[in-house]
């Protein structure tokens, strides 16, 4: 696989190629490089560790099998994410097709705690640790109520920090679709988490930075079009 190079010196693409060529260690090395981040994505997409483990395993087997179909048009890590996210979404869809998912019982409670959720940290008080945990739980509970595609987009863009263009490749959709899913998902989360609109945004024009306008009216005479002739 590696010749005189160590595994860390071999690119993802070379490892995948070596796997396709029959190297029995290459895929394990490749997967190990990205395993933790793939796990994070699977966990946040699926919502619990058991299902995430199943989804990640599905993705692992699928990627192993389909390595030969990788054309190199995207980064290997993008392709791996795509396979794992699709495996997770397939698993969710299969599950949802059999039963309706009720909202978490405590969702209303989370909504009532909107001010707590959206409060900015103001101190390092020991209670902040507990507050942070509650806030995290509230976010995850609200995230779980979103449509699968919106949740996947938010996990990849806002949680994992991938560029929208790369997420579009992962989710096999247009950039605009990713933006739309993120926008709608955030708006829904804002409602569920009670993120308040600033005062100026409640029925009034935005109160952000005002458009730059001259503080003193110019005394110059208005310019007229140049006279003909």
């Amino acid at each position: 696989m590696t010749g005189s190079l160590g595994p860390d010196d071999v690119s993802d693409a070379d490892l995948l190629r070596a796997h396709v060529d029959g190297d029995t260690d290459a895929f394990g090395t490749l997967f190990a490089r990205h395993r933790d981040r793939l796990w994070a994505v699977a966990l946040r997409t699926m919502g619990n560790p058991d299902d995430a483990a199943d989804g990640l395993q599905d993705g692992l087997v699928a990627a192993y099998r389909r390595a030969g179909s990788f054309r190199g048009e995207a980064a290997v890590t993008t392709w791996l994410h795509r396979v794992v996210v699709n495996a997770c979404l397939d698993r969710i869809r299969a599950s949802r097709s059999r039963r309706a998912e009720p909202l978490p019982d405590d969702l209303e409670e989370y909504e009532r705690r909107g001010s707590l959720v959206s409060a900015a940290p103001v101190s390092e008080d020991p209670a902040e640790v507990a507050v942070r945990g509650d806030r995290r739980d509230a976010v995850l509970a609200a995230l779980a109520t979103l449509p699968d595609e919106q949740r996947a987009a938010l996990v990849l863009v806002d949680m994992e920090g991938y560029p929208v263009s790369e997420v579009a490749e992962m989710l096999d959709c247009a950039v605009g679709t990713v933006k739309s899913r993120c926008s709608r998902g955030r708006a829904r989360l804002a409602v569920l988490l009670g993120v308040p609109a600033p005062e100026g945004e409640r029925g009034h024009p935005p109160d952000g930075n005002p458009d730059p306008t001259p503080s003193v009216r110019s005394t110059d005479a208005p310019r007229a079009p140049p006279a003909a002739g």
Binding site: A40, A53, L60, R65, S97, V139, R186, A187, A190
Partner: protein
């Protein structure tokens, strides 16, 4: 989903911050890592790192599934008509998965009596009281694949193990017995190693659960697709 409000920049930034704070930063848990490593090892060992072979198996399985659509739909209708296995049909419903639905409707459930033509198979067979009783020759070997649902994998595997205590119709004590019955159960054995094998229908596909010899307090169970040799799923159960 109700209409979502348009967010102002500050609101959107706050939601994004909350999401970023909820990012999972821990590594893969040790048990999951061990499981994934074992799956990888099995894949590598059984296929010599040749994904093309595995892909061929997948295609073969999918095409065979499609070919069976018509016949199994008829079987599913018969199941509904006689009121047996209704729960299987409803529970397996699924977004274009007609073949899967029909497949599931034709297989045995743990508490059910199977299809009308298979009445009586639930009766315990002599010598079929344990998975470890590999010397027993099942009298009604391998006529009823057990349904294993992807989203209830753990529970269904445990249930499959219980079924083997009830009837020899559900398992083969070794791979040779499985090969002998392969035509009967429409399942070509792969390189599945040693163990006790329970034919299953998993997500619409024929396959087997390989119950490995118990090791201490645990027993590993691997799922294979018929005709394939890679572990599709694996689980560790408390030893029987």
């Amino acid at each position: 989903m109700p209409d979502e409000p348009d967010l102002g920049p500050e609101q959107e930034q706050e939601v994004r911050r909350l999401l970023a704070d909820a990012r999972h930063t821990e590594p893969v848990p040790a048990d999951v890592a061990t499981r994934l490593d074992r799956v990888l090892a099995d894949l590598a060992a059984q296929h010599g790192g040749s994904p093309d072979d595995e892909a061929d198996n997948v295609v073969a399985m999918a095409s065979r599934r499609r070919r069976r659509v018509t016949s199994v739909l008829v079987a599913a209708a018969a199941v509904v008509a006689i009121g047996v296995g209704l729960d299987q049909v409803v529970d397996s419903g699924g977004s274009g998965e007609s073949a899967s639905t029909a497949d599931r409707a034709t297989v045995a459930e743990s508490g059910g009596a199977g299809s009308g033509s298979d009445q009586g198979k639930d009766e315990p067979a002599p010598g079929a009281d344990s998975l470890t009783n590999s010397g027993a020759a099942p009298e009604q070997a391998l006529t009823d694949p057990v349904r294993v649902r992807p989203d209830h994998f753990s529970a269904d595997v445990a249930r499959a193990r219980q079924l083997t205590h009830r009837s020899a119709a559900y398992y083969a004590p070794d791979v040779q017995a499985l090969k002998d019955a392969s035509g009967k159960i429409d399942c070509t054995p792969g390189d599945w190693g040693s163990g006790t094998f329970v034919p299953v229908v998993y997500d619409g596909h024929r396959g087997v659960l390989a119950f490995r010899a118990a090791n201490g307090d645990t027993q590993v169970v691997d799922l294979f697709g018929c005709g394939g040799s890679s572990v599709l799923r694996s689980i560790t159960l408390p030893a029987p």
